[in-house]
Subunit: 332 residues, 2 copies
């Protein structure tokens, strides 16, 4: 992206560069959003966070003090979104319902918090003439892909979870705004993102289960589910890197590592990191954790790597680092 | 689909077969929907039409008298949809905003009439335990595809119109219901469908322009836009055929012909069929008719043809037949 870039330098050495841009981060108080805010502040951006605090936390942003602007608001309140959009040059739209499993019980959450929220962001951008959006999509748009590792050009796209439907529906809205109203877009299809400040997901769940009962760990499914993982600071760094170094009308990237880790291996690693001994790991059985769970995902990160980006952690390293960090955050 | 099929016979000779199924057709009073209702009634189904009459017309169904049930209702009224769903075995969900260009001026119509309406249909199906849905998707889900003819497995899917976004968003909701709640689905990606009872589209527009002024015909764009066309009775026949002969959890088919027709050629054919002479065909210029228009689409109908289906008309024949039919319907 060329506007207001004073110096376009890769971030491989993690050194801040002389950017100055007015950036809005939806979901910026959340797990991934708050790490992204850290990087944007570090490079000198004027950052506004828009978050409804449903899963965001004030303490994830507290260290920024008054150097960022915080708006507590709901993306379903389009007037609030329009107000927040004035003067913004780039939107990172990360807000969403983070609980993929919820869709099996409540069917309208992903539609509203995902697809309709994205519509409101885009409509507010159109009204305020904001031209650049980066969106946190997900590997779940691929559904049960027949090709692995799965490249960005994979089709057909048949997501099997309601969360996945909201991600693909949001991507489609964004590309339609590109085609109709001249936006520029970055679509980031995330692997499973793990790391410090995690508020949900398999590692988080395992630690809480072990905290409640250190003698046994119940694992949903047969443990053979196998997915790509990416460490959250690698993820935030990749997002910023790609908006700096790619400039097509639509820039679509898998954000993940080149390998996978099984749920069985995650259970072992988490148990190891707790230091608990003689833990009985028990499997509920079945090839997936819940209806709509994709048993195996392996993203092809070739296009990401081709931009010069390198993750600091592979999947298993991400898991171990996260387990260690979250055990410290949560306590045992 | 196996349930209640008494005799599973191809429809190549247009002879009705001994089906009896409770079928709901959303948008059943519209252009394509009413042709579909004709075929379903002919094969002996108990047909309920659900239509808000925004572009549907009573006269398209009048010939059925009391042999079908008609519900005037809005898909955004979920209680009405739930009521209509009781006892249904198969839903043909065709209702949508038919005006693709509208999205360039009003941005929430496709979201509501498309994506949210599809959500309501699916949620009503879940509540009433209805397991089978056939959906009218569109070639616009492919956006500006790099591969032509475009197969169903094409990716990435970057629709460029808001209408296209609503079709892909609806497809994604449907596949997520398949993965999460065990539905069976048919996704039909329509070429441009033309024929009797047409209420919009390029042929319809050209006839109305020539009716107003028989000396000149203004064509949006440079006339080189080139798309696949399918005659509406072929389309209705293909939909019924595919729900009878295919039985995967997700059955996705391009519904089109193996060729294309340019807008320039359509203008010539329509003028020829009017019989008007010395008509000046004038082009507004540019490679597309409006922002969000896809300049060229060519669907690969191989998987459709492999099921034994053959269209009666190719693209150019569909155009000529439609021009002749609509001129009779509209009058000059």
């Amino acid at each position: 992206m060329k506007s207001k870039i004073l110096m376009n330098v890769g971030l491989k050495n993690n050194s801040p560069v002389a950017y100055l841009m007015n950036v809005l981060v939806t979901g910026g108080a959340g797990f991934i959003g708050s790490h992204l805010v850290d990087r944007l502040v570090a490079r000198g951006d004027a950052v506004t966070v828009f978050d409804n605090m449903s899963s965001g936390r004030q303490e994830f942003l507290a260290h920024h003090g008054d150097s960022i602007q915080f708006i507590e608001g709901d993306l379903l309140d389009i007037d609030a979104v329009k107000s927040a959009m004035v003067g913004i040059e780039l939107v990172f739209h990360l807000a969403a319902n983070p609980d993929i499993r919820l869709g099996t019980r409540v069917t309208d959450t992903d539609l509203k918090q995902g697809t309709v929220a994205t519509y409101n962001v885009l409509e507010a951008m159109r009204c305020a003439d904001v031209k650049n959006i980066a969106f946190s999509s997900s590997s779940v748009v691929y559904g049960e892909a027949l090709e692995m590792p799965t490249p960005e050009s994979y089709g057909p796209l048949f997501p099997i979870s309601l969360y996945g439907a909201s991600k693909l529906g949001s991507e489609a809205l964004i590309t339609s705004w590109v085609g109709t109203f001249g936006l520029k877009a970055w679509l980031f299809r995330f692997a499973n993102i793990v790391g410090a400040r995690g508020t949900h997901g398999v590692i988080f769940d395992f630690i809480h289960k072990l905290k409640a009962d250190s003698t046994r760990l119940e694992v949903l499914g047969n443990g053979r589910q196998e997915k790509s993982y990416m460490e959250v600071m690698d993820c935030a760094r990749a997002m910023v890197h790609l908006t700096e170094t790619t400039d097509e009308q639509i820039n679509c990237f898998n954000l993940g590592t080149h390998d996978t880790c099984s749920v069985r291996r995650i259970a072992e690693i988490v148990v190891e990191e707790t230091g608990f001994e003689n833990v009985s790991i028990e499997y509920t059985g079945g090839d997936r954790g819940w209806a709509g769970d994709v048993p195996k995902t392996m993203l092809d990160p070739t296009t990401l790597y081709a931009t010069g980006f390198e993750p600091n952690y592979n999947s298993e390293e991400s898991i171990r680092h996260t387990a260690s960090t979250l055990i410290q955050e949560i306590g045992l």
